[in-house]
């Protein structure tokens, strides 16, 4: 492997890219549009609190009250205590115009104190996704904070009653845009290399460009690495744009730290390789596009890009966890929002392993020359 050859190839990649206005548009303007659009939609609803109907079956136990107080302190939900019976709760929410509801079950406090699991029941009106989504995020965020506290499980832990204190769940209260930024960065880490690599893998083969390159000393790994370097650079630019626009226009709270770097490097590494592998498996550009879409689309929506995976129905959550992008976005969430280093490190380990395997497979299976 020679750096000079990677550099030479990288120059070609950069020039090709910068001279292609469409590619440039999609890489740089698209993230701005995306964050602008979602930011405008959700910050509008975020400025007014989402109405949330709550039924507390734990009979105002201190823990449940603390939990509701924490929700209330976010000022992102406007809690209304309702008295609907559990059997018709969902129907009553609908007829009273609520888009989101929450049931705190009997035994919430004892379960929490005894470290046994307890299910909150969330209700969301799918036709008011913005409001419901906002409520879900806030509840999830607060629940995460409680769970972190409960998980310490030792005598030195603070009393449960102090859980709503802001420092327990991170530095601040989250808005939807805060969650959206790691999600959208993940979205562009996925889509930008995947779509173009799938296309390149099949069209370069069809046009004979790979054959021409096979006659030079450039190796397949060098060729792939120069693409990876380019997409890492592009990811830094798009992430910068998204964070800048999110913070500047929509007052997103983003914690920038070095922990973000592994995800901005490993993410493109993984998806450039995966795109190449997908394009290699396909025989024609048409089937390549199809295979690319089959891989990309579920990941685009099920990895926590637009909505937190924890807000998914239970049967979908395991699906999310087999998708590589989930670990990229989860990792960035941990780093940018929750300061949960342990979990971020776990995500880094998963992505590194996947990236190494997929890179090796892509180099192994992608052929410069025709064996037939």
């Amino acid at each position: 492997m020679k750096p000079a050859r990677i550099l030479a190839d990288l120059k070609i990649v950069i020039r090709s890219y910068l001279r292609n206005p469409v590619a440039l548009f999609f890489s740089l303007i698209f993230p701005i549009i995306l964050i602008g659009l979602f930011g405008a939609i959700f910050s509008a609803s975020g400025s007014s609190a989402a109405p949330l109907a709550v039924e507390n079956f734990d009979h105002n136990s201190p823990t449940s009250v603390a939990f509701l107080a924490a929700l209330n302190n976010t000022s992102l939900v406007q809690i209304t205590m309702v008295g609907y019976p559990a059997s018709s709760f969902a129907a009553d929410l609908g007829s009273n115009g609520f888009s989101a509801g929450l049931i705190i079950p009997t035994g919430f406090q004892s379960a929490f104190l005894n470290h046994t699991s307890v299910n909150l029941t969330l209700f969301a009106n799918p036709t008011s996704a913005a409001v419901a989504g906002q409520a879900e995020y806030v509840i999830t965020g607060v629940a995460n904070g409680f769970n972190l506290r409960a998980a310490c499980g030792s005598q030195t832990c603070a009393p449960v009653i102090r859980i709503p204190a802001p420092e327990n769940i991170g530095s601040q209260v989250y808005t939807y845009i805060d969650y959206l930024i790691p999600g959208l960065i993940g979205f562009s880490i996925l889509t930008s290399p995947m779509f173009s690599m799938v296309d390149i893998a099949s069209s370069y083969r069809k046009e004979g460009i790979f054959r021409a390159l096979s006659l030079t000393p450039l190796t397949k790994s060098e060729w792939l690495l120069s693409r990876i370097i380019w997409y890492v650079a592009l990811t830094f630019v798009t992430a910068g744009i998204m964070i800048g626009v999110g913070a500047g226009l929509f007052h997103a709270h983003v914690e920038l730290n070095a922990g973000l770097l592994p995800f901005l490097v490993l993410g493109p590494f993984l998806f450039v390789s995966l795109g190449m592998l997908a394009g290699t498996v396909a025989k024609t550009p048409e089937s390549a596009a199809l295979i690319g879409n089959i891989i990309t689309f579920p990941m685009m929506f099920l990895s926590g890009t637009f909505f937190a995976v924890s807000a998914f129905p239970a049967y979908l959550q395991p699906v999310a966890k087999v998708l590589p992008l989930y670990y990229v976005i989860d990792g960035m969430d941990q780093v940018m929002l929750f300061s949960n280093t342990t979990r971020a490190l776990f995500d880094v380990a998963v992505i590194t392993t996947l990236a190494a395997i997929i890179f090796a497979l892509a180099v192994r299976f992608f052929q410069w020359r025709d064996v037939e």
Binding site: R5, R15, R211, P217, L218, E372
Partner: protein, 310 residues
């Protein structure tokens, strides 16, 4: 002199069909070798096997002493190749392309000089997607020279080029030969092979059906030199009777095959003394194209073209 290419029993099978059917040939170093054949004869398959772009089914192949498939990486440092239908990155200019190849091969080519050689100097800074077909071919040729190759594989380098562009490529091929490099050329243009090649092979249905210098091929597969009169059958009869030659007559022409050019004098003298009417005469000799058409048969439109036709 050593052979730059050695091929023995080379075969390429697709399913039950042989695209290349156990052929043998060798190319002497420092010569121009032309590989001729109609479309689908096995030309490009053979060339791609020699270049290391395609795996052979059978036989042995050595290019500069190396196996092109298993030792392709080492071989490619020493050979220059224009694949058929050469394509490159659309937004890159010829100058950048040469710098790119120079970096990959760790050579330091002078882009301006190299592009001038292939008559592409004025397009040095035009993007690839704005070049004409001929200009793209010329860029392919320039790129195949960036590593200072010992042998160049040029697969139909002049197809689709205008006569002037074709001549500039011929000039490059002549110069490569003068510099002691080997050139392996496939072409549709028989005139091109006749002008440039030291050795020619004609491949048809995967088999080599004729090989040698252009003159040798014409001699062994073509009709002998002949004297042609504008005259009627009586002159043919007269010449047959008096000289015992196999003169033939058709369409107001009389043709007399010649053993040697000196025979022409004897035939002309006899015709002059015959008292029979005849008008102008000429000597005719088969070209490589005549031989090719005789061996391979007339081909589809586009498969066989000459300079004049273009």
């Amino acid at each position: 002199m050593a052979n730059a290419v050695e091929v023995q029993g080379l075969a390429k099978r697709y399913g039950g069909l042989y695209a290349v059917d156990h052929i043998d040939f060798s190319v002497q170093a420092g010569t121009v070798y032309a590989f001729l054949g109609p479309n689908g004869a096995g030309k490009t398959t053979t060339t791609e096997i020699l270049e290391g772009l395609r795996k052979r089914s059978d036989g042995t192949v050595r290019v500069l002493g190396l196996d092109p498939w298993t030792e392709g990486y080492a071989l490619h440092l020493r050979v220059g190749v224009i694949p058929q239908d050469f394509r490159f990155f659309e937004k890159i200019t010829p100058k950048e392309a040469i710098e790119y190849y120079g970096s990959l091969f760790a050579t330091r080519p002078d882009p301006a000089a190299l592009l001038e050689q292939v008559d592409l100097g004025d397009k040095a800074n035009s993007r690839y997607d704005t070049l004409s077909g001929g200009q793209k071919q010329k860029l392919g040729l320039a790129l195949s020279l960036t590593n200072n190759p010992e042998i160049c594989f040029l697969d139909e380098p002049t197809t689709g080029l205008d006569p002037q562009a074709r001549r500039s490529i011929w000039e490059v091929i002549r110069r490569l030969r003068r510099e002691g490099r080997t050139v392996f050329l496939t072409t549709h243009y028989l005139e091109e092979a006749e002008l440039l090649a030291d050795q020619v092979s004609i491949i048809h249905h995967g088999k080599i059906i004729a090989a040698g210098t252009p003159a040798e091929i014409i001699k062994s597969h073509g009709q002998p030199e002949r004297l042609v009169f504008q005259a009627g059958p009586p002159l043919a009869d007269y010449l047959r009777r008096t000289l015992g030659v196999s003169a033939t007559s058709h369409d107001g022409r009389v043709e007399v095959p010649l053993e040697s050019s000196r025979d022409a004098v004897r035939v002309l003298a006899s015709a002059d003394s015959s008292g029979l009417p005849w008008d102008g005469f000429s000597t005719q000799q088969d070209t490589l194209e005549d031989v090719f058409v005789r061996l391979v048969g007339p081909m589809d439109d586009g498969a066989l073209k000459t300079e004049e036709v273009r």
